[in-house]
């Protein structure tokens, strides 16, 4: 997994609430046996027409969309299925961070496992970001802070909380499996105790 420490870049805003995993990656793209190239199908039904051509004017098709490393999604982002294809598709598209005021449980776990940083902000902070499409912000995982310059020119620095172990692994690019693997003695002891 690629390490994540700090990133500065423009945000891309999808303000709709309850963006579910069927929107992020429609089920017809789940028949592959690897995640290669899955980013090409991210939000396929939103940004591509029936012939697979980009729909002009869609925010996900604007110039620079794929160079916006930070996705700001509406409340309850990532609800629905357990498909890990969803965070893989977002990363394949170009995102490294997803920010919302609420993230679905399985999606958040999956994101942490594949190296997409999930950030949950307070409702008012999130609401401010929804109005800042295209502007540059900084996401700092070492400090657990999001830094923005709001419309009135003021510098804001917002703390966010993240599961400490997820943070530990993301900062160092560690595979969570290694932690599990090191617990072999405890697993054996548990199995023998049953």
């Amino acid at each position: 997994m690629q390490a994540f420490t700090k990133l500065t870049g423009p945000i891309l805003v999808l303000e709709q609430e309850n963006i579910d995993t069927d929107q992020i990656i429609p089920a017809r793209f789940l028949t592959a046996t690897d995640f290669d190239g899955i980013g090409e199908h991210a939000f396929a039904d939103w940004r591509l027409d029936d012939n697979g051509e980009p729909i002009p004017g869609h925010v996900l098709n604007r110039a620079g969309a794929r160079n916006s490393p930070i996705l700001v999604g509406g409340h309850n982002f990532g609800c629905g299925s357990s498909r890990e294809h969803a965070p893989h598709a977002l990363m394949g598209f170009g995102f490294r961070v997803v920010i919302s005021s609420q993230l679905a449980d399985i999606f958040r776990n999956n994101s942490q496992n594949v190296g997409l940083l999930p950030v949950v902000l307070e409702a008012d902070q999130h609401a401010a970001l929804l109005q800042m499409d295209g502007e540059e912000i900084t996401v700092d995982l070492e400090q657990c802070r999001v830094r923005v310059r709001t419309a009135d020119g003021a510098e804001q620095s917002w703390a966010f909380s993240i599961d400490p172990f997820a943070r530990h692994c993301l900062l160092r690019g560690l595979d969570r499996f290694d932690f599990l693997n090191q617990a072999e003695d405890a697993i054996v002891a548990y199995e023998e105790s049953r």
């Binding site: 309850n76 999956n110 496992n113 697993i187």
Partner: protein
Amino acid sequence: MLPESLPQSLFDKLWQSHVVQAQSESTPAIIYIDLHLVHEVTSPQGFDMLRDRGIAVRCPERTLATLDHSTPTLPPGDDGQRPYITKQAQRQVQTLRDNCREFGIELHDWDSPSRGIVHVMGPELGATQPGMTIVCGDSHTSTHGAFGALAFGIGTTEVGHVLAKQCLLQNKPKSMRINVEGKLADGVTAKDLALNIIRYLGMNGGTGFVIEYAGEAVRSLDMESRMTLCNLTIEAGARAGMIAPDETTINYLRGRAKVPQGEAFEQVAEKWLQLASDLEAEFDSEITLDGSAMRPAITYGTDPGMSVAIGEPVPEATNTTQEKALQYMGFHGGQSMSERKVDVVFVGSCTNGRISDLRAAANVLRGRSVASHVRMLVVPGSENIRKQAESEGLHEVIIAAGAQWRLPGCSMCIAMNGDMVPAGKTAVSTSNRNFEGRQGAGSRTLLASPETAAASAVMGCVAGVSDLEPAREAS
């Protein structure tokens, strides 16, 4: 005297009895998994991880696989070939077959008499048992909580973790109890109960929680209905839903293939019946609803929380999310739902593809015909259900009414296999998600019970059972 231990919820007990290594301030708990269910879509990269690291499946005997999502529901053609939607779908199925052979996992392949949707097959075989932890790379794993198990969906990385170590890294979720008091009225099914609960909670009201369902209306449900209720828990955002085991649970499991037999079963059943929340157990959230006031429900929007009672009009939108949902669905506030012509009806899925669901649909269809403009698919949840239905002649009723009788699989619920709803068309579906495009790009899904789905198929528009004319006498 030893201090009395704190009262615990059923969830607390299931969690605690599976902790391999406790959660700390900086690390998650390591939880042991008793049963790992596997299907073709979310497992290939998990098996690749094992190969990359050169490790075996730790507990093949705790792992059970089936083919369900990408599988065609039409039989092989004259050439003997199954009509996979794409070569890639066929390759995905073959990959699971190869992986199960390589790693020694029991797979219910095409030739298995028990093959079925993963959440239908597990309980049917008795692989799902009270007190277990159960996971699967599928969010509807919550289904198995109906047996008093802690069951939830996981991602593919975690599928790899469980294959390799039979364990998961997890932080303990919060607990919620939903008490549904009173009796459900005649004609109100578990699907209706679940849609009423999701409407109350909202599609994210359960996020961060494990839900225990309790109360008279829940206790009086049979096992298939309990599975429907627990299945839909994830549609309120909660990863797991559960119901404490009782005699209904024990009677369902007795004699099934993978439970102990004879006296050994009665002994383990005694233990299972002890699994319940303590009287004084505390929950992070507790809700009590009146089941007797609930009515059959149908969704009108693009999340499962957007439902109305059958006969009620489409509500007025009160925010942009609802406005967008109505626009997608082609509804406007105040419109009568029965004005909506129905193009497709789907009865099946891990939510409502069990024998009682098929009987309910067939009972509506008996002596009636599916409206000429409606395409109706009835897809049993497993081979065992297909055989049972055929032995009861349900397939004849279904076919005589003008519906299609298919082979088991997820089919039109997730529309990966070619069974789909065309763009702009309306489906009344017994499945679990009405998200935009869920049943095919541009599809419009109305979620309802098998009874409502079958009634809508007959009427050709959104309708409840009470809207039907009397059936023709059997000739």
